[in-house]
Symmetry: C2
Subunit: 225 residues, 2 copies
């Protein structure tokens, strides 16, 4: 896949704020809907009534569908917005979403809540959802907030104990870099400590390696997140 | 966590069919809504109109919320329904859903479609979504369709290449069992072959080990899926 396949449009901070104010409440409404659907015990007539309202909303939103071939990048931070991303996307109701903070030392962290929509065994987060959030935050750390082109080589997850539904914290950092490989580590946990630990190896793709030794780091895309 | 924390209600095949017919179209409507929201380009007035319809649907579904402390098990297959599960749940709009088939030799497989809601880099499935579906299907294989109590110890994912959005196939099987450990392997792939390979170690929890040597396998719960 070539870099020119990933066009970027830069948007200003003001435009970002305007779009965020428009879309974020819509996505939050969808998240409440998904949770209500999982737990509902209403009768079939009420289910069909709810479904009709949902289908109406879909019809309104489908009147204009945007071009999905370009990715927006924030003029202030230089980072891609990743609005559609299933881990962090403000416009994707599947995402918790993780609100990832970047420290000056390169550490990334996010504190967020995983509710009933992410449940595996009763009261606990699905192990695969733990994997989703850890894959994402390790990738953010390894790629400096998705500003360096990298793809995931391998990731290993060690489950220490079940992760209770509710508030969680994820954190990741670069352990070391060796040539084209970046080694990142991180964890997911609750107030009692780590529940899952992760180690990942991220690879700089061939098209981003300069034979003269200078990295091309202007793509802002990580291939597997 | 003790086994008595996971009560089961058995439902008949007829009741399963009745409930599935009620809920499945509702969840499908929610999945279309989530996808439409990601790509919509309508103006703010239309966004608010859609949001009002969504909030109405949520209000209807919240009129009766069911008890979530018990898990339904199908009378015919003996397997938990996992209707709320974020990988396979028929009632969870986050789930693709994976429709997992169990072969007589213990192999599990699922063919399903991953659309724009699961996108990471343009045109490709988010690496963490690959991890979610592989964690789940390895757990299904290791626990014989969630009928044996197991929790995930570790899982390692090897990304061979990006997984294009669209139809995919996941498969998993038990490689070997050693005492309390079950080793499972699997892959995710498209028509061109494997895109991600996975190895997992699943552990039988202490409360399910009988000192006399006989396993307790009547709980039907895997702790981390």
């Amino acid at each position: 896949m070539a870099m020119q396949d990933f066009p970027f449009d830069v948007i200003t901070a003001d435009e970002y704020d305007r779009l965020r104010a428009a879309y974020e409440p819509l996505t939050e409404s969808m998240r409440r809907l998904v949770a209500a659907g999982i737990r509902t015990g209403v009768d079939v007539d009420e289910i069909r009534q709810a479904q009709a309202a949902i289908d109406l909303a879909t019809e309104v939103l489908e009147r204009t569908q945007r071009d999905t071939t370009s990715t927006l990048r924030h003029a202030g931070t230089g980072r891609p917005l990743a609005w559609a991303n299933p881990a962090v996307g403000l416009r994707n109701a599947i995402a918790p979403p993780m609100d990832i903070r970047h420290e000056s030392d390169g550490t990334c962290w996010a504190e967020f809540t995983l509710g009933p929509a992410y449940e595996g065994p009763p009261g606990l987060v699905h192990g695969g959802i733990c994997a989703l959030v850890l894959d994402h935050i390790l990738g953010e750390a390894a790629s400096d907030g998705l500003t360096k082109p990298l793809f995931t080589g391998t990731i290993t997850l060690k489950y220490m104990r079940g992760t209770p539904l509710g508030p969680v914290r994820a954190e990741a950092f670069i352990e070391r870099t060796e040539g084209i490989k970046t080694y990142a580590r991180g964890y997911l946990g609750d107030a009692q400590g780590h529940t899952v630990e992760a180690d990942g190896v991220f690879i700089r793709p061939a098209w981003a390696r300069d034979p003269g030794g200078q990295e091309r780091s202007d793509s802002g895309i990580r291939d597997s997140a």
